[in-house]
């Protein structure tokens, strides 16, 4: 998954045009899945190398670019408005201490395990450049603790939750919440690409209420971070791009098939019952008729002197009398 991401983003990163990035971005449209090297490439000339930027500036730059990219996918007005809001919020959410540090320092801290990051990531990102942005932010503690409201209900609330989602990357367990969230949303196939079980919405897609819902579902981000990798490694290799939609369709199909089968068997059972009843009725009428007949015959026999007089038993008769 990571390689796939890199490939896509590598291609996308070469050209800075937003439109050309649309296609590959549609598949993996989050900056957070990129390694820091690629992020640097994408951000273009920032004035100073990534590593010496403050976290503040890093995030701002990232979000600027992302918001810019999101423009191509969403309403421009809302994106811009939300982008501003984002940046404001983001800076708020960053810890004071952290924002002052440069990326390099943060990285050193991570390596020394001063910041409580998850230990499992350690093996996978040996150097700063190869770390994905997302992981970096996780480790840096930019990611706050688990957010309570993941689902977006209202506009502002949605924006807030999105911010929170941006500012914090959920721990492994929280990835699981999203599949349910996304299943509840009606499948929208604006983007047409989904990663099952990885329901991390693109937090930067802003819009009012309903469109937020849409964006959550639409902007299914392939976040093939190792974090996700641990979750989805078993799923992705063999799966043929089955989307949550497909799964829903399949279950619906299955349900319909079951219903049809059930109906057929119910019809068969009704037919059986009816056939049995018919047969019984026929039998009853036959028997009744026979009964009638027999009774009539009996009556007739009673009325008429039908029985011939019984044969005379052997009767002794005097034929001749003996003289003696």
């Amino acid at each position: 998954m990571g390689t796939h991401t890199m490939g896509a983003q590598g291609g996308g990163g070469d050209s800075n045009g937003k439109q050309s990035q649309l296609q590959p971005l549609v598949r993996q449209n989050s900056m957070y899945s990129l390694t820091l090297d690629e992020v640097q490439n994408q951000l273009g000339d920032l004035g100073k190398p990534l590593s010496s930027m403050n976290l503040d500036e890093l995030l701002k730059n990232v979000w600027t670019v992302e918001a810019g990219q999101s423009l191509s996918m969403d309403n421009e007005g809302t994106a811009q408005a939300s982008q501003a809001a984002l940046q404001r919020q983001a800076s708020l959410s960053l810890a004071e201490a952290l924002s002052k540090k440069t990326v390099d320092e943060v990285w050193r801290d991570i390596q020394q395990n001063k910041i409580n990051g998850e230990k499992k990531f350690r093996d996978r990102q040996p150097t700063l450049g190869e770390m994905t942005l997302e992981d970096f932010l996780v480790k840096a503690g930019v990611v706050a603790e688990a957010s309570s409201n993941r689902k977006n209900t209202g506009t502002i609330a949605g924006v807030d939750s999105n911010i929170a989602a941006v500012a914090q990357f959920p721990s492994q367990g929280q990835w699981m919440q999203y599949p349910q969230a996304q299943y509840q949303h009606p499948p929208q196939s604006l983007m047409g690409i989904y990663m099952p079980g990885q329901g991390m919405a693109q937090p930067l897609h802003m819009g009012a209420g309903a469109s937020l819902d849409v964006s959550f579902v639409d902007s299914q981000v392939a976040l093939p971070s190792p974090l996700m990798g641990t979750v989805s490694d078993t799923q992705t290799p063999g799966r043929k791009r089955s989307t949550p939609e497909d799964m829903m369709e399949r279950t619906v199909e299955r349900r319909q098939k079951r219903m049809i089968k059930n109906r057929e068997s119910a019809a068969r059972s009704r037919a059986r019952k009816q056939a049995y009843t018919n047969e019984l009725e026929n039998k009853v009428s036959r028997l009744e008729e026979e009964n009638e007949r027999l009774r009539k015959r009996e009556e007739l026999e009673k009325m008429l002197p039908c029985a011939p007089p019984p044969e005379p038993k052997y009767q002794l008769r005097r034929v001749a009398s003996a003289l003696f």
Partner: protein, 244 residues
């Protein structure tokens, strides 16, 4: 006459209708006046008209009788239609022979339930009919392996040919030995179909397999025509262990 009908076709033909038929069909012209008093007034002068009238009446009564007979005949095979035996295995026919099947003491009526354990041995089958005629008996299961998915329809259980009328299958030639019902899934129908042969068949070739048998095709192959009697029963798998 009514009695005869009842015995052969196992139906109830009201006596009065039979009498009606004979009254009009075979009777002289005078009887027709009972139905149509006007006839007398109109036809006293014209012999032709009265002749036509009488002819019409006879035709009418004949048609009426046939209709009744057909309806009544249909009633006797109704369980077969409702149970989809006529349709899945055989085509519509008019029963002309009385066949009774007994598994032990249990008399098989259409749609009755027979346990597989009761049907391990071949049943006792008695036919009416002429001694001169030869009959073929076939026992088949159209619901194999499962009624909801009869992929092996039909599964043939028993074939006996050259059964003399009025006797039983032991006097015939067993082409395919009897196999008792063993329904794996669901409630299966087991159908006995009796055909009247046009000629002695002798040694008939065994079907290549018991599964995917087709009764219609078999009958066509041996030129058996429509069945003369059919009866079927239901059977399902018995629970393996006795319920405590």
């Amino acid at each position: 006459m009514a009695l005869l009908y009842s015995q052969n076709y196992k139906i109830e033909v009201p006596d009065i209708l039979i009498r009606f038929f004979f009254f009009f069909f075979f009777s002289p012209l005078e009887n027709h006046y009972y139905i149509n008093p006007m006839l007398k007034a109109t036809t006293t002068n014209s012999a032709v008209a009265s002749a036509i009238h009488s002819l019409l009446m006879r035709c009418l009564s004949l048609t009426l009788l046939l209709c009744i007979a057909f309806l009544v005949m249909a009633a006797s095979v109704e369980p077969l239609v409702v149970g989809r035996v006529i349709g899945d295995v055989v085509d519509m026919f008019i029963p002309s022979v009385s066949m009774s099947v007994y598994f032990g003491s249990k008399h098989v009526t259409n749609g009755c339930d027979i346990k597989p354990s009761m049907a391990i041995s071949p049943p006792k089958v008695t036919l009416t009919g002429n001694m001169d005629n030869l009959y073929t008996l076939v026992m088949t299961d159209p619901d194999a392996p499962s009624p909801s998915e009869p992929s092996m329809r039909e599964w043939i259980h028993w074939i006996v040919v050259d059964i003399p009328g009025g006797t039983n299958p032991t006097r015939g030639k067993e082409i395919l030995p009897y196999v008792g019902p063993r329904p794996p899934v669901g409630i299966h129908r087991y159908i006995f179909v009796l055909f009247q042969q046009k000629e002695p068949l002798g040694l008939v070739e065994q079907p290549p397999a018991r599964a995917s048998f087709n009764t219609r095709y078999f009958a066509r192959q041996l030129d058996l025509g429509l069945p003369v009697a059919t009866v079927y029963f239901n059977s399902q798998k018995e629970p393996a262990t006795k319920r405590r």
